[in-house]
């Protein structure tokens, strides 16, 4: 589904990703761990097409398409979803309005009919319920005044509504309390653990992986994948940290 080959990317002329390769197949769940500043969020943004994140070498194909040739919103319409490490506030725009416009724009790019207000609200309500989020919160402006944990939970509600093919979740577990962690973990499994979907989890801690069992765990350091293993690798890192790892 996602094939990253020798990806090099710079931010503000500073090389951050330095030859990163990774393959993710449909039905798989991958986890990436790695020290602060390793380039995990940079990878996320680069795959999302964020302006300022410049690819200097390498290629990325997504479901057979050249991902890097698409505009950010086209990548979204193709089924790519990013869970943000720091979800952004948009004053004056309700979550409902935001997501309905976003979903209908995606549908337009895919040549599908727009959803009516009623149809959309049905989907939104179901997803909010499943994440234990009050519908009233969905009527509030996007992330404005949400607590850190609420913002992360909101990312998962958005994921449920947009129903992507590939989700890259950047530290979605950070800032969650014990109960919320379980709810988010269950949400990821419910929405994404399907034969035709895939997930890339970026996390610092083993605990999310107790809920969302990964098929592969990778270590990203110095802008490259330096080690790959199964779920046991996460436990090992929990014990030993990254000091053994060549950066």
């Amino acid at each position: 589904m996602l094939q990253i080959n020798n990806l090099h990317a710079t931010v503000a002329d500073k090389p951050i990703l330095k030859g990163l390769s990774l393959q993710i197949n449909a039905g798989e769940i991958h986890a990436i761990m790695g020290p602060n500043g390793a380039g995990k969020s940079t990878l996320t943004y680069t795959l999302g097409g964020r302006p300022g994140y410049e690819v200097t070498d390498g290629s990325v194909s997504f479901d057979g398409q050249d991902l890097l040739a698409l505009a950010p919103h086209e990548r979204a319409a193709a089924g790519l979803f990013l869970g943000f490490q720091y979800p952004v506030e948009i004053p004056g725009v309700s979550n409902v309005q935001f997501l309905r416009e976003a979903l209908n724009s995606q549908r337009k790019v895919r040549g599908e009919e727009p959803l009516s207000g009623g149809e959309f609200l049905k989907i939104a309500r179901a997803q909010a319920d499943a994440m234990g989020m009050d519908m009233e919160m969905l009527k509030r402006p996007v992330n404005v005044g949400f607590s850190g944990g609420e913002k992360k939970r909101n990312e998962m509600v958005q994921m449920g509504i947009l129903d992507p093919v590939l989700a890259i979740l950047d530290e979605t577990d950070s800032g969650l309390d014990i109960d919320a962690l379980r709810v988010v973990g269950d949400g990821i499994n419910r929405i994404m653990r399907k034969p035709d979907k895939a997930v890339l989890l970026i996390t610092h801690y083993q605990r999310l992986l107790d809920y969302v069992k990964p098929d592969f765990v990778h270590v990203l350091a110095g802008g490259r994948i330096v080690r790959t293993g199964g779920p046991e690798l996460a436990l090992e890192l929990e014990e030993d940290g990254y000091k053994e790892m060549a950066a």
Partner: protein, 492 residues
């Protein structure tokens, strides 16, 4: 052919048709144009064309003489090219604009805007001035003249007078005389004085005591919109305990031959009356290089004369090359209320200097000002507002909020509040913010599926929401689209 060239062409055609007659406007020859330039004869010509009573002509002449002694204002934050008042036409009958044979002749840029606004084809023809479109449009879109007739009958039943001001001058001279020039005095400012001398037509509304106007006057206005020209004059009188909501303007850019617009709008609300006046202004702003475009110098003022009277101005300003306008409230009545909600968008080389004045003379009078300025491109956007509290006005409250949103790095936003308080019991609050659309916000929205321009439109609409939600429903939707369209190409 650009919109501007169309305008020039129409003006040239008009000039040619006038020049053909030696005595042009004078007496026996029927012509629809006053000759170029501005003299006492121009004023007499206009008054004569309208068959005005003597008192009206005298009033105009007095204004004209006054205007000759005045000087154009000193433009604070505006850069206004000198205007040659002798090189313009001051009267043209409503028809003479050059009609087009079909929509194919309309500037494709304008057609694009119509399409984006979702305006039906037949209505587009009306707006663009396509030959014979008017009747067709009314038939197709609004089920014919009968709708207008129904509206008129309904208004008459309620006792509401809703007429061109030229008719009201003849039919309701006492009402007109009582209030015309009483809210905006003749000597108020250069452009208001000019308007007094040469105003072409406009709207007169009277809502009788205790009557709630049975419809948004916008509905009616929209299907009857005639080009009232560059010097428009509006007078709305809300008698005791009455209510009216009036919407002027149109979200679609209209063809217009006149570069200078200097309208005067006067509102008066008596005891317990309420007027809600909404404006959506989208005149031609000039091209991306800053050429052409309308100069819009408007004087709008409301007199909250009665106790507990209320006037609410809501404006969405996206058009014009230069906008100079300060819809204001003189709060004479005890516990009267003034409100001003404004969104002003400037892009490319547009300049806007707009705001309000709240003059608190009455005890317990209150006012709210919410101004949202959005500047993009090389444009300049200034909020200029005055809150004045008279010595006798006990217990006055004002809340002002001015927010500016910048797109790009070369646009300008300025906030110039004047506060004059002569009574210590007044509570005045002022909040101001300036922000930019952040890259974080844009990318977040794009990652969820919005194209860049959709993302900008969404964020801008969120910023302007408090004002947009004051608009009548049908126009709020169009105004939202309009904000997005006005800012296209301003990011990235």
């Amino acid at each position: 052919m650009t919109d501007h060239q169309i305008k020039d062409q129409a003006a040239r055609d008009a000039a040619a048709s006038v020049a053909d007659y030696e005595h042009g406007w004078s007496s026996d020859i029927e012509t629809d144009f006053a000759p170029k330039g501005l003299t006492e004869d121009t004023v007499r010509f206009i008054s004569g064309k309208k068959n005005e009573p003597e008192w009206m002509l005298d009033w105009r002449l007095k204004a004209f003489r006054m205007w000759q002694t005045m000087e154009a204002p000193d433009w604070a934050k505006l850069n206004v090219p000198p205007i040659d008042y002798q090189d313009a036409y001051y009267y043209a009958a409503p028809k003479p604009k050059k009609t087009l044979a079909s929509l194919d002749e309309v500037d494709p840029e304008i057609l694009k805007v119509y399409q984006k606004l979702g305006i039906p084809i037949e209505e587009q023809k009306v707006l663009a001035g396509v030959e014979g479109a008017r009747r067709v449009a009314v038939d197709a879109v609004f089920d014919s003249v009968s709708v207008a007739t129904t509206f008129r009958a309904e208004l008459e039943k309620a006792g509401v007078i809703f007429r061109p001001i030229s008719e009201a001058i003849k039919e309701y001279p006492e009402l007109v005389k009582k209030w015309l020039g009483k809210i905006v005095p003749m000597h108020d400012n250069y452009f208001a004085t000019l308007n007094c001398a040469v105003f072409s037509d406009g709207t007169f509304v009277y809502i009788p005591e205790g009557v709630r106007c049975p419809m948004e006057l916008s509905t009616y206005f929209r299907i009857n919109a005639e080009n009232t020209g560059q010097f428009e004059r509006t007078l709305i009188i809300a008698d005791k305990g009455s209510y009216v909501s009036y919407l002027e303007g149109c979200t679609a850019p209209m063809r217009d031959e006149n570069q200078l617009h200097a309208a005067v709008v006067e509102l008066v609300a008596l005891d317990d009356a309420e007027i809600k006046y909404s404006t959506v202004q989208n005149w031609y702003p000039g091209n991306a290089e800053g050429l052409g475009g309308i100069y819009n110098f408007v004087t709008k003022r409301a007199l909250c004369q009665g106790a507990r009277s209320k006037v609410s101005w809501t404006q969405v300003e996206t058009g014009s090359a230069i906008t100079w306008k300060y819809p204001s409230c003189v709060l004479n009545g005890e516990n009267s209320v003034g409100e001003f909600y404004s969104v002003a968008v400037t892009n490319n080389f547009q300049q806007a200097d707009t705001g309000t004045k709240m003059i608190h003379n009455g005890k317990g009078s209150r006012s709210t000002i919410v101004s949202k300025g959005i500047s993009a491109g090389h444009s300049n956007n200034t909020y200029r507002g005055l809150v004045r509290v008279a010595p006798q006005a006990e217990g006055v409250r004002n809340f002002t909020q001015c927010d500016s949103l910048l797109l790009g790095s070369v646009s300008g936003a300025h906030t110039v509040p004047y506060i004059e308080v002569r009574n210590p019991s007044a509570q005045i609050e002022h909040e101001a913010t300036t922000s930019k659309i952040s890259d974080d916000q844009l990318f977040y929205a794009m990652q969820r599926g919005l194209a860049q321009e959709e993302a900008v439109a969404l964020i801008v609409n969120g910023f302007a929401k408090e004002v947009l939600q004051q608009l009548p429903m049908e126009f709020a939707v169009e105004a939202q689209k309009l904000l997005g369209i006005s800012l296209e190409g301003s990011v990235g």
